[in-house]
């Protein structure tokens, strides 16, 4: 059992997420090559941690005030709309905790996954964080089925000393409003 910080979700945070969602498709122009190179290392590391199911180490890569959000409506306001989930750090810990009980049938046997991260772009944000956009194809193999989960992901990365932490991870599934197969692994 690991204690996670209480929820940081409040109206101000929702306001920023709604703003973020509504500008998701705005053209941010060409990205910054050196930021992009750093961001790629962060994303590849994250993908590897998840593919190897090092979930606690993965969670350590996030800030205490992080958000991990898989919306249904990619441009909607999460106060008005339900998502696959919108997690703070505490519920991310719950998601991992359930897996760690060993009784999550939908992950017994566990999924084997392989993430292909591509089209990485990065821009500096006013608060000093870095906005990263990329495309990801996560292939899940489980019980004789190979299933692709295709998404455009958005990240906000925070520089903490000489390390990068993830402050926001938003997974925009291309078929979020369609018929989605269940997923119980961390996407």
């Amino acid at each position: 059992m690991t204690a996670e910080p209480p929820s940081v979700v409040d109206d101000g945070l929702y306001e920023r997420l709604a703003q973020f969602a509504s500008t998701r498709r705005a053209d941010a122009g060409p990205s910054d090559p050196s930021l992009r190179a750093e961001a790629e290392l962060v994303l590849y590391h994250e993908a590897r941690l998840l593919d190897d199911r090092h979930y606690r180490t993965w969670l350590d890569r996030f800030t205490d005030d992080c958000i991990y959000w898989i919306p249904l409506d990619l441009e909607g306001d999460p106060r008005q709309q339900v998502s696959f989930f919108l997690d703070d750090r505490r519920r991310m810990g719950d998601r991992i905790g359930l897996l760690e009980t060993g009784w999550m049938h939908a992950q017994n046997p566990p999924s084997r996954t392989c993430r292909v991260v591509s089209n990485v772009e990065a821009w500096p944000l006013e608060n000093g964080d870095t906005l990263v956009r990329c495309t990801v194809v996560t292939w899940e193999y489980r019980r004789d089925q190979l299933t692709p989960f295709v998404s455009r992901n958005d990240y906000e990365l925070a520089a903490m000393g000489d390390e990068w932490r993830i402050r926001k991870k938003i997974v925009g599934l291309v078929d979020s409003v369609g018929d989605v197969r269940k997923f119980a692994f961390i996407l």
Partner: protein, 437 residues
């Protein structure tokens, strides 16, 4: 066709009802064509000229509200060459023009224009070529139902003892009305009745949702979400009911050791929103907070509507071994915004953490049902047990782990499957056409 009555015994059902394509085809006629089927909620077609595309079993339907406020269930199938004429999920439209050859229909289903009209036979009459529509539409407390049965029992009779339970669900809102928000669709590889069995099954949470029960106890302590299932649930007073006509009810409320809010596991925004409600509503804040968590009941309206938590979920059969679940979250009209924001996060909680295990088990059942040499599926728990009681209205109640609700819906299923129900489509005001088979 097999003798269907041979497939249902008092304590068990034959595997073929889950795996035989012929039986699935019959269900689409007799069940999803023969009795009231939930289509949508009024908040989804609230204004004149609103429309929503839905399904009646496998049939695509455009549910429209015309300029006079009247609801119509139009089969989404051009009278000309069969293309669907409406290809959006929802919106507002007075007319639907088929993209293929331009035939145009009003939202009442009338064919109002055929381009290049020269050349059709002299007796071609537009009034014979409307969009075929459902003969019967009914509503109860904002829930819209439709059927191809031209002479169904009244919707209120069909709902029977389920009607006051629908009242309880919507009356959790201050105004007595709910509003549906966006929806999620999930697919599983299994027969639609596996989801139906599960909705009346109060024994499975202890085992199927063991990860959820265990984790909450370890991480959050106390009596939190689903803790009422951590040991024998029948010791808690929770019960299940066969409401008749296939409807089922599972009441988890007697198992709670505190209020809905006190036993809700923490979700994102829990502290900030609770503080805000407490400072804003003072003495009545406990009542306000009580509106945020789910209803703690599972009310299932046969054959396709599951009311659970704060959700309305429809079961859309795709084929004998594939099913789509559509889940809409309901907000409480008239409740403070904070309550409905909390409902969004609570509505994601069990569905993303617990429901994958349900779907996993449906798929394992479907795989096991493929064993043709082992023919029967057991539903005997509680049959003839002294704790089963029948009320004056015919509601059969038993401890929550008993399988009475399942036995009840299977009896209703058999009755519908064997009934000589007519199906009718309305082609125009004057033409009502009975469908063969």
């Amino acid at each position: 066709m097999t003798d269907l009555s041979a497939l249902v015994e008092p304590h068990r059902v034959h595997r073929s009802i889950y795996v035989e394509p012929d039986i699935f085809a019959k269900e689409m006629e007799k069940i999803f064509g023969g009795t009231w089927v939930y289509l949508a909620h009024e908040s989804q077609v609230a204004e004149p000229n609103d429309f929503l595309t839905v399904r009646l079993g496998h049939r695509p339907v455009i549910l429209t509200r015309d300029a006079d406020g009247q609801l119509h269930g139009l089969l989404n199938r051009c009278a000309h060459r069969a293309a669907t004429v409406c290809n959006e999920e929802c919106g507002s439209a007075k007319n639907f023009q088929c993209s293929y050859h331009g035939w145009t229909y009003s939202n009442r289903g009338d064919l109002v224009n055929v381009p290049f009209a020269d050349g059709y036979p002299v007796d071609f009459d537009k009034s014979d070529y409307g969009l075929s529509q459902l003969p019967s539409i009914g509503t109860y407390r904002g829930l819209i139902f439709g059927t191809l049965n031209p002479d169904p029992s009244s919707l209120l009779d069909w709902l029977g003892p389920a009607a006051p339970l629908i009242d309880e669900f919507v009356d959790r809102s201050p105004t007595g009305r709910i509003e549906l928000r966006n929806r999620q669709r999930m697919i599983y590889r299994g027969n639609w009745k596996l989801a139906w069995d599960n909705a009346g099954d109060g024994m499975h949470p202890t085992f199927a949702h063991r990860s959820f029960v265990l984790h909450n106890e370890n991480q959050h302590g106390g009596e939190r979400s689903l803790s009422q299932f951590k040991s024998n649930p029948d010791d808690t007073g929770m019960y299940g009911e066969d409401l008749g006509n296939g409807h089922m009810f599972v009441d988890q409320r007697p198992g709670l050791t505190g209020s809905f809010w006190e036993t809700q596991r923490p979700v994102p925004g829990h502290e900030w929103y609770a503080d805000r409600i407490e400072s804003e509503y003072g003495d009545s804040s406990a009542d306000v907070l009580e509106m945020a968590p789910g209803s703690m009941v599972n009310l299932s309206i046969f054959p396709n509507l599951l009311i659970k938590g704060n959700h309305l979920e429809t079961i859309d059969p795709i084929s004998v071994d594939e099913t789509r679940l559509c889940t809409w979250v309901a907000t409480a009209e008239g409740a403070p915004d904070e309550v409905n924001v909390m409902r969004m996060r609570i509505a994601e909680d069990f569905p993303s953490l617990g429901n994958p295990d349900d779907l996993e088990l449906f798929e394992r059942c479907q795989e096991g049902l493929g064993v043709s040499e082992v023919e029967w599926v057991d539903m005997s728990k509680g049959l003839g047990h002294p704790s089963e009681q029948v009320s004056a209205e015919g509601v059969r109640r038993g401890p929550v782990t008993h399988e009475g609700p399942m036995r009840g819906y299977i009896r209703a299923w058999l009755e519908l499957m064997e009934a000589d129900t007519k199906r009718v489509v309305v082609d125009s005001e004057s033409v009502k056409r009975e469908v063969a088979g």
